[in-house]
């Protein structure tokens, strides 16, 4: 069958975008296990190459040198950052990358508004933009702008440029809902009137609401925020895909959108909180002050690095529970060394990870992997929780709320109902913590500190582990 040349090219182009969409699905599919993950990543790269190559080949690129230059500069910056970034800074990096996707969506939306003919969304008769495209464009720009400004705030909070404490404006729910309604109303109005002021007001309001939405959320709720922004960046790409009728963009947007949504759901479930309550923000702001008065002096035991080394050397099994504190003090390498020495003594060492430990999903796993901890020694909450009862030593380093039994017993506790690691069931608990004064993010005291079989190891996490390593050496 013969087709006119133009039609053949259009068909081939559409096929190429479909192939790259499928390759992106395979990229995520590869992540089902560490063995297949790197192949998956290569599929992703190939998919991107095909998508970019197809676009460049099918448009007379008058500006080809400019394009290549822009890709080369951007690529070099991205590559450099990716090579240099510390693994502990991964949450900030991901937030920063999300902001770029959001901004790119805004810029593409603005370009489509400025030159609709290039995108094939101009009505030949009326010389106006198709009405359906206006809705897609409006939504795409709005989601992109929210992703950008929200991610910038998330980055500043994670990077420590801005206090992690929630900042609460009076009447913020009314303000936010009002702005959201205004944005949606303007998108609807945009269908009837494609004036520039409508487009730019949508964009400006969306930038503003992105800031306002993330400002009241802090600390341990960041994993949800990062996942949620991940999801938004996907929906922004999908909305642009609708505008451009591009299958690669639509498939990818849907994949990324659902991926971020599922991660947010997993994080919320791990904290036993509803997505809405996280988004509403303010968690931990009041609790910190309330905890102060109730605090009576309860006896607790302090241990030294030598005591800890002795106890663990005598043990048959040790489970290590890492948390954000390990990331902050970069203790993962020293921790691996400690585990190696213990294994030499014939002790079985495992790691237990709570889904919300750290500041992003999977944060602890990456840090342990960086320190060369084999991934088959690292277990998720459901898989290891029953083992604490048969374990000699639970070694908790920089985690607090995720081990707090109040989540099971105290109905009035802000963390009530959250699934926890049952460290209290172990014969001995070693708790590495900077000082007795600070309580976890939720601002609740932890009964584990005061148990008879608990020994508090008060020091910087890395320093303490290094001292234990020295003591084990003797």
């Amino acid at each position: 069958m013969m087709m006119p040349a133009g039609e053949t090219i259009a068909t081939l182009t559409a096929l190429a975008y479909l192939v790259s969409g499928v390759l992106f699905i395979l990229a995520l599919r590869g992540l089902s296990s560490p063995e297949t993950s790197r192949t998956g990543n290569r599929f992703g790269m190939l998919g991107m190459l095909i998508a970019v190559g197809t676009t460049m080949a099918t448009h007379d690129a008058v500006a080809l040198p400019h394009l290549v230059l822009a890709i080369a500069i951007g690529g070099a910056i991205g590559f450099f950052i990716a090579r240099r970034i510390a693994m502990t800074a991964m949450p900030q990096l991901v937030a920063a990358f999300h902001s770029l996707v959001g901004m790119a969506a805004v810029v593409v939306g603005a370009a489509a508004y400025a030159n609709p003919a290039a995108f094939g969304i101009l009505d030949a008769l009326t010389r106006e933009i198709h009405q359906a495209s206006r809705v897609e464009m409006g939504l795409g720009v709005a989601i992109g702008a929210i992703t950008f400004s929200g991610s910038v705030i998330a980055f500043l909070k994670l990077n420590g440029n801005m206090s992690g404490k929630p900042i609460l404006l009076p009447g913020r729910h009314v303000i936010n809902l009002g702005m959201l309604a205004a944005i949606l109303g303007l998108v609807a109005y945009f269908v009837g009137d494609q004036s520039a002021w409508v487009f730019w007001t949508i964009t400006a309001l969306s930038f503003l609401i992105g800031f306002l939405l993330i400002i009241p959320i802090g600390g341990a709720d960041m994993p949800v925020v990062v996942s949620m922004l991940n999801s938004y960046s996907g929906w922004a790409a999908a909305a642009m895909g609708f505008t451009l009728h591009n299958t690669a963009m639509i498939i990818t947007g849907a994949l990324v959108g659902s991926s971020g949504a599922i991660l947010s759901y997993i994080m919320c479930r791990a904290m036993n909180r509803s997505f809405l309550s996280v988004i509403a923000g303010g968690f931990g702001a009041e609790a910190a002050s309330g905890g102060g008065e109730a605090k009576e002096q309860r006896p607790w035991k302090r241990g030294s690095a030598e005591d800890a080394a002795f106890l663990m050397k005598q043990a048959d099994s040790v489970i290590i529970v890492p948390g954000y504190g390990m990331a902050v003090s970069q203790a993962q390498h020293a921790l691996r060394e400690m585990a190696d020495l213990l294994k030499k003594e014939g002790v079985s060492v495992k790691y237990a990870i709570h889904p919300v430990a750290g500041r992003m999903p999977g944060h602890m796993n990456v840090l342990l992997a960086e320190a060369n901890v084999p991934y088959d020694e690292v277990f998720e909450l459901e898989d290891i929780n029953s083992e604490f009862a048969q374990t000699d030593v639970a070694f908790i380093i920089g985690a607090n709320d995720v081990t707090n039994p109040a989540a099971k017993t105290d109905k009035s506790s802000p963390i009530y109902g959250m699934p926890i690691l049952d460290v209290a069931n172990a014969k001995t608990v070693l708790f590495v913590k900077r000082s007795m004064g600070g309580v976890g993010y939720a601002g609740v005291d932890n009964d584990v500190f005061y148990m008879d079989n608990t020994m508090m190891l008060l020091a910087d996490a890395k320093k303490m582990v290094e001292d234990i390593v020295k003591a084990l050496g003797h």
């Binding site: 975008y17 995520l28 992540l31 089902s32 560490p34 993950s37 990543n41 998919g47 991107m48 970019v52 676009t55 460049m56 500006a63 400019h66 394009l67 822009a70 890709i71 500069i73 951007g74 690529g75 910056i77 991205g78 990716a82 090579r83 693994m87 991964m90 991901v94 990358f97 790119a104 810029v107 593409v108 370009a111 400025a114 030159n115 290039a118 359906a132 990062v226 996942s227 960046s233 996907g234 642009m240 505008t243 451009l244 690669a248 498939i251 990818t252 849907a254 990324v256 959108g257 659902s258 991926s259 971020g260 991660l263 992003m360 999903p361 990456v366 992997a369 084999p374 991934y375 088959d376």
Partner: protein, 94 residues
């Protein structure tokens, strides 16, 4: 393509995404975020189209900025994912 065809692709892709992502092992959730970040920069396609068409200088400049931003993400996202995935190792069999 008509709207319904595009919508069908979108809805089905959401379902594919749902099942594929649930099968991702929790240990790889951070690389998952990094790689989804990289692939969502496929939005570069839109930026390239805008930058390649000459009629509107404003759109061209916006397109170039979009290409630059998305390229940072594409190269950075894939490279950092690769770096992370290379660190996941099994126990050495001695």
């Amino acid at each position: 393509m008509d709207f319904i065809a595009i919508l069908s692709i979108f809805v089905l892709a959401c379902f594919v995404g749902y099942y594929v992502v649930w099968s991702v092992t929790p240990a790889l959730h951070t690389p998952l975020m990094a790689v989804t970040n990289a692939i969502s920069s496929v939005i570069i396609v839109g930026a390239l189209i805008a930058a390649a068409e000459a009629e509107s200088p404003a759109a061209q400049w916006l397109g170039l900025v979009g290409v630059l931003l998305a390229s940072i993400n594409i190269f950075g996202g894939f490279a950092v994912t690769e770096r992370m995935l290379a660190m996941y190792k099994k126990k050495d069999r001695k």
